[in-house]
Assembly symmetry: C2
Homo-oligomer: 391 residues x 2
C-alpha cells in the first residue's frame, strides 16, 4: 500500500485552564492507504506539531515530518521502522518532530492492523494481550482529610491501585507530607496499591526528597514518581540509593528511546513510564519495554488523554505479566471522551486490556470531532501549507 | 524596562538544498523594551518555532513561549533567568519551546547590554573577552587528493586550525578513512590543529569507530567529533576509554544544559560543543561552560550561521584562555552574511573575539531582511496569531 493522505485535526475544549490536564486539547491524526484508514494522537501542542508536519525544509537534517510519510510504502512493521529512521536522520534538528511523528506512527500501526485484520500488539510479535491492573490517578487533597476522602472514593469505584500526586506535596513541611501520605494509605485501605507522584517538585534537591522516604516506606508506597526534573539523572540515582521498598518512577517526557534508557541506566528508576504520543510512537516504546525487561525495570504506560492514546500506550507492553499496573485516566475532559466512538473500559473484574481488534481497535466519532474542531490555517508565501480538513 | 514587543522574522534563501548547511534560512528575533531593541537568532526550523511562540495554551505545563516574555520586566540578568525558569516549567511539554526561546533569550541579553552600554559577556561577570583561535570547517573531499587540496586552501586563508567532516568518512573501508586522515594532515601541514567530524555516521557502533582511532592518533587529531548519535552516551564512554591523545567532541544538539552535562558525565567527551541558538540561549550555555571548566572539559561554540549567532555563541566562554578554539563558519549562504550590517572578522593575527560593544554588538541590515523575508501567516479560529511584521 502507498500512504495517500495524512490529515491532522486540532481539537480543543472551548476553554483551556492551567490544570495539568492534557486532555484539554488533542491532535488527532488520520492516515489513508490502500483503501484503509488508521488513527493516532499526538500528546503535544497541536499548532507547533502541525507546523512540524508541513514546514518548508531548512536544510538536509531539518526536514518536515510530512514528506517522508506521504507517498511512502506501508506493507509491514519494517516500513514503519524505515520511515522512523528517515525522520530521525532528516528531522534531526527539528525538535518538535518527535511529538508530531508519535501520532502519525500510531496511525500507521492502526492502519496496518486494520488492513491485516490483526491487533497492533500481534504485529509487534506479541501472541496474547495480558490483563492490566488499572490505577486511578488522583490529586492529593488540600488537607489530609480530603486526601483520605479521595482515596475512599477511588476504592468505591473499584480501583485496587490509586496514584496521588501534585497538590501540596513538597510545598510544605516534611510533617505535612507525612500526614498526607498516611491519609492516602488510610483512604485506599491496607490492601490497595499506593503510588505517589511528586510532579518534579524537588527539582534536583535530593535531601528534600529523601526526607519523604521514611514515610513513603512506612505507608508501603509502590513507587515515588518524578521527585525531580526529568533530566536530573544524578539526583534520581542518589535518591535510589536510599530506597528500600519504594522504587523511583519516571520517564513520561521521553521523546526518544534513548532518554528512557538513560533514566534507567543513569537514574536507577524501578519503573519507566512511557507516553506513546511523545516517544515517537509504538515502535520505540516497544524497544523501551524490551530494554526494561532486560534490566529488571517495570514498564508502565503514561496516558492522560483519550482511549485512542490509551490503546496505543497499552500495545508495547501487552505481553507483561497478568496484573501488571497500567495508568488509566479517570478524569478526562469531555473532548477526550467524546471524539472516540468506542472506549476502553474495565472488565467485570476491574481489569484492563488492549483491545483484541484489528489495529488499535478505536473508532472516531466524527460529530464530536466537528464539535471540538479548531479551524487553523498556515500560509507561507501565499501558499496554504495547512488548512483544517473538512470533516 | 517592560518588554513591549517581540517580532520574529523568517528569512530563507530562494532555494533550500539538502546540504547540511543551516545558514540556508534563519529566524531573526527583535525585542523592544524601554526605547531599546535587541536581536537574537534561533538555530531552528522557523515555522514550528514561530508556532511555539504564538500557539494557544494546551494545559498548565504546555504554554507558548510568547506569553511569559511579553510584558515581563527586564532590568538585569536575573530577569532573563526568571523568564527562563518560567518557560522551563510552563512550557515543559512543548518540545519546540527551547529552540524558540534560544533566539529570544539572546535578544534579551543584547537589549540589556545596549541599554546599559555593556557587552553581554560583561553582564555575565566576565571582565575581559579573550581571543579565540578560529577553526575553519570544511568537508572531506571525495578523494584523499581533494581533501589535501581543501586543507592547503584553508591554510592559505590563514587558518591555523581546520576541521574536516562528513563526506566519505565511515562510509567505506578503514583503509579509505586512513588515507583521508593522512591527506587532511598533509594538506594543513604538521603545525596546524586538525579536527575531525564524523557526523554521527557510526550510530552506536563502537567497534567501527574504534577502528579509526589509530589513524586519528597517528595524524595527531585534536578531537573526534560526533562519532555516534547524540544520545549514545554509552557508545561515547566506551570509545573514550580507547582514546590516548585524541579526545571526543559533541553536544551541538543539546537543547538544555542537562543534555550537555550528561554528555560530559556519562559520555566522557573532552570537548563540549554548544549552540546558543538551541540550548536556550546564553544563560544555560554559560552554565555549561562553568560545568565544563570544573570537569576539565573544553567548551567550544557550535555556530553555523550569521555573525549574530556567532557573537551570542562567543559570549559564554569569553573568559576562556587566549588561543582557545572556536568554530568560525566560512561557507555561509549569502542570506546569513547579508542580514547583519556588520560582521565578526578575524584580526590581523587571524584571531577572533566577541565584540567589545554594547550587547552582542551586531546590527541588522533591514534591506537584506526585506530581500529574504518569507511572508507567513498563522490563523486559529479566524484570529491571526502571527503575520510577518512590516520591515
Amino acid at each position: 500500500m502507498r500512504i495517500e493522505a495524512v490529515d491532522l485535526f486540532y481539537l480543543a475544549m472551548p476553554e483551556i485552564t492551567d490544570e495539568g490536564d492534557s486532555s484539554q486539547d488533542a491532535l488527532l491524526v488520520r492516515v489513508a492507504a490502500g483503501g484503509h484508514v488508521g488513527f493516532g494522537e499526538c500528546e503535544a501542542a497541536p499548532l507547533p506539531s502541525i507546523a512540524a508536519f508541513v514546514c518548508p525544509k531548512s536544510h538536509g537534517a531539518c526536514h518536515n515530518v510530512g514528506d517522508p510519510v506521504l507517498g511512502a510504502m506501508l506493507d509491514g512493521p519494517d516500513d514503519i521502522a524505515r520511515i522512523a529512521r528517515r525522520i530521525t536522520w532528516e528531522s534531526m534538528d527539528l525538535l518538535q518532530a518527535a511529538h508530531t511523528w508519535s501520532g502519525v506512527e500510531m496511525a500507521l500501526w492502526d492502519l496496518l492492523g486494520r488492513a491485516q485484520g490483526a491487533p497492533a500488539w500481534s504485529l509487534l510479535g506479541i501472541p496474547r494481550s495480558g490483563r492490566r491492573t488499572p490505577y486511578a490517578s488522583a490529586l492529593f487533597g488540600p488537607t489530609p482529610q480530603e486526601t483520605l476522602v479521595v482515596g475512599r472514593a477511588q476504592r468505591a469505584e473499584g480501583f485496587r491501585a490509586v496514584k496521588f500526586g501534585w497538590g501540596p506535596i513538597g510545598r510544605g513541611s516534611v510533617a505535612d507530607d507525612v500526614a498526607q501520605l498516611h491519609a492516602a494509605r488510610e483512604g485506599i485501605g491496607e490492601d490497595a496499591i499506593l503510588l505517589v507522584d511528586a510532579g518534579q517538585i524537588f527539582g534536583e534537591d535530593v535531601e528534600a526528597a529523601a526526607a519523604r522516604l521514611p514515610a513513603l516506606e512506612a505507608v508501603h508506597a509502590t513507587w515515588f514518581e518524578e521527585p525531580f526534573a526529568g533530566h536530573a539523572y544524578e539526583a534520581y540515582a542518589a535518591l535510589a540509593r536510599h530506597c528500600r521498598g519504594v522504587r523511583l518512577a519516571g520517564g513520561e517526557a521521553s521523546h526518544n528511546a534513548h532518554m528512557a534508557r538513560h533514566l534507567m541506566a543513569f537514574g536507577g528508576v524501578g519503573f519507566v513510564q512511557i507516553d506513546c504520543g511523545r516517544i515517537g510512537g509504538i515502535g520505540p516504546a516497544r524497544r523501551v519495554a524490551e530494554l526494561a525487561a532486560g534490566r529488571g525495570v517495570t514498564y508502565v504506560n503514561h496516558t492522560f488523554t483519550s482511549s485512542l492514546a490509551l490503546s496505543a500506550s497499552l500495545q508495547p507492553f501487552a505481553d507483561a505479566a497478568d496484573g501488571a499496573l497500567c495508568e488509566y485516566p479517570v478524569q478526562l475532559k469531555p473532548l477526550a471522551r467524546a471524539f472516540t466512538a468506542n472506549r476502553i473500559l474495565r472488565d467485570a473484574d476491574g481489569m484492563l486490556a488492549a483491545p483484541d481488534c484489528p489495529g488499535l481497535g478505536i473508532d472516531i466519532d466524527w460529530d464530536a470531532v466537528r464539535r471540538y474542531l479548531v479551524e487553523t490555517e498556515i500560509t507561507v508565501e501565499g501558499r496554504v501549507l495547512y488548512r483544517t480538513p473538512k470533516v
